[in-house]
């Protein structure tokens, strides 16, 4: 019936007194890298836990590969791969021993298992270190093995929970390359992160999450449109109070697509920052304000998040 690899409907998860996931619905098409962006505590890991059958949802359900996580968890387990947020490896075993063990848990054996282990270790560029213990690895190397362990069995759907936290740029590059590679091989990916640059770079479709809810979703382009096509101007003015009402005058200017004020800060989106800047400054001066800081930028997810929630993505 459905082509979608994931169809989550009204997922709710209450843990203790907290509603960690609060009515989340989204769907992922095959072959996508789906970005799940949100600050720490937004509910990303909890969502992944429900989709991967680790935690039962309080209410709602999700179909993964057409199977209900609630009613057919075993079927779901067989087609997914999970790369957990924490390094889930046995520190005293070698990279190879860890991978072989993971492979066996997915029914790989014999030359098939050997081949996959080698392939994965080469992909994450750690084949030479295959016989080193995990505890001897750097954080970035551990992350790469953690990633390899989750995709060894070529899952149809791979769930990645912040796979790049706290690692060196080189390891990050390797992980990105790996993700593109497996996407090209036909795996659908759910990529969770609180780094908006990563999500902008990697993902075709993005859902932005905050406090258990998806507050915006779509392609990167769709999302950035919410901030205006051209550019953003951010102004801080003094003395306090001088800017009141200014945003209305600004929003009537030609080319301006939106203006918003928070105390003495003005956020202006327009078709072209270059053309809008001069008339904006004129209005500001006419209102008896002095500009104490000025910032021009093109729209990005970070700004969108601030725009939507009034707070920064990274605390």
């Amino acid at each position: 019936m459905s082509e979608q690899i994931v169809k989550a409907e009204h997922l709710v998860k209450r843990i203790g007194g907290i509603t960690a996931v609060d009515g989340v619905s989204f769907s992922i098409e095959p072959g996508q890298i789906f970005g799940y962006l949100g600050p720490n505590g937004a509910g990303k890991t909890t969502t992944i836990s429900i989709l991967s059958t680790y935690l039962p949802a309080t209410s709602g359900d999700a179909l993964v590969g057409g199977f209900s996580v609630r009613r057919e968890p075993l079927k779901v387990k067989e087609i997914i791969g999970v790369v957990p947020q924490e390094i889930a490896l046995y520190p005293t075993l070698t990279a190879m021993q860890n991978l072989r063990f993971c492979g066996k848990m997915y029914n790989l054996q014999g030359s098939m298992l050997d081949g996959r282990c080698r392939e994965m270790l080469e992909l994450v560029k750690l084949w030479e270190r295959r016989d080193s213990r995990i505890e001897e690895f750097s954080g970035g190397m551990k992350r790469r093995i953690n990633l390899a362990a989750g995709m060894l069995h070529r899952p149809r759907f791979l769930l990645l929970d912040e796979p790049t936290v706290g690692i060196d740029p080189q390891s990050r590059e390797r992980i990105f390359d790996t993700i593109f590679k497996i996407r090209d091989d036909g795996t659908t990916v759910l990529y969770t992160s609180h780094y908006m640059e990563e999500v902008e770079l990697l993902c075709d479709h993005i859902a932005i999450m905050d406090r258990g809810k998806i507050i915006a979703a779509g392609t990167l382009k769709d999302l950035l449109k919410m901030l205006g096509e051209g550019g953003m101007i951010e102004l801080e003015v003094s003395p306090p109070g001088c800017a009141s009402g200014l945003e209305e005058a600004i929003s009537r200017l030609e080319d301006v697509t939106g203006a918003r004020r928070e105390e003495n800060r003005l956020f202006i989106s327009s078709v072209s920052s270059a053309r809008t800047l001069a008339p904006v400054m004129k209005l500001v001066e006419a209102g008896g304000c002095e500009v104490s800081s000025l910032e021009l930028y093109s729209p990005n997810l970070e700004k969108l998040f601030i725009h939507l929630t009034g707070k920064e993505l990274r605390e």
């Binding site: 680790y54 999970v82 889930a88 046995y90 005293t92 021993q97």
Partner: protein, 398 residues
Amino acid sequence: MKKLWYIATKDLLIVAKDRGAWITLLLTPLVVIVLASLALSPIYKGGSLHATLLVSDLDSGGVGKQLVSALAANPNMTVQAATEAESRTLKRAGSTYSLSLVIPEDFSARVEAGSSVQLMVYDDPNSTTSAPFLKGMIEGTVNRFSAVEVAAKVGVAEALNQNPAASAASVAAAAASASSQMANQPIKTSEQPAAGTKPLNTFDIETPGFAVMFLLFGVMIGTEGLLEERDKGTMARLIVAPVPRSSILGGKLAAQFLVSLLQISLLFAAGHFIFNMDTGNSLPGLVLMVAITAYTATAFGLLLAALVKTRRQASAFGVLTILLMSALGGSWWPLDIVPPFMRTLGHVTINAWALDGIKGLILHGQGFFDILPQAGVLFAYGTVCFLAGVKLFRFRNA
């Protein structure tokens, strides 16, 4: 089932690589068994502890001399004649002693008259070495002497240097069980093992006791491994993989059981081949006891993991429980020497049932069928722990 075995072999590999685990499993118990066997051997055997006793025999009659020669006959004691002043101060010719005995002037007369007498025992309350042990020997000698030979009421009171009142009562009470008639001829006593018994090897006593205790400490490695797997997220990895929970837990328990079995077997093998520990008349019986003990210990480890929330709690609660069980259950001293109610209470422990069976085989010549009741109780004990553990264990952190 295959995956259960993969999980077990993975755990066995982890333990095999863990040097700390082997110290806990084998080295520590061996050191403790050897130390305990060597140190306690004089107590069980009446063996080689030796001390010198200062004696001032002020007695004008002959009974005092008989007492002195009886004391001197004790192979663990050298009797050194001394003046009364030397005995009082425990100092003679520049040397310090820990114990002295003064036999009063009217000793023979009072003994012969059948009235009570006082022997003065001086000790140094600060001496922790052999004084209590020596006192025991004097007491024993005086008792035997007075009961059989002197046939008089002999009260022995002890005068302590600092606190004369303190323990006088105990010695006096012991000695007051004297008998009635006096005989002139000293009676020689000699000790001989009864027919069919063998000379005691303290390793026969200490090896099983400490092996069972360290077996329980050994399963804590498995308990912590189980909780660590849960804490570190590798359990979550297994849960989201197509692996039944029964295989996850079963694999880990199978590995721990095999480690425990290997541990206790190696400890007994070391006891037997290095220290000549007896293995009894029924090897199948011993194998059965050892296997069931390893099973019950493993199940205990699971229950512990199920009852605590964190690894810290597991180790704190585990150490406490194991030490309590070991003390109560006869790992540290045989339950034959404790009061009956303590013996009964001791049988709430794994140690007591395991040791009843194992020592029955090793020390008391029991056969396979004699120890089946103990084996049965222990198996039931393990099964209750296992079922409760499976029921209560949480695969996810709360």
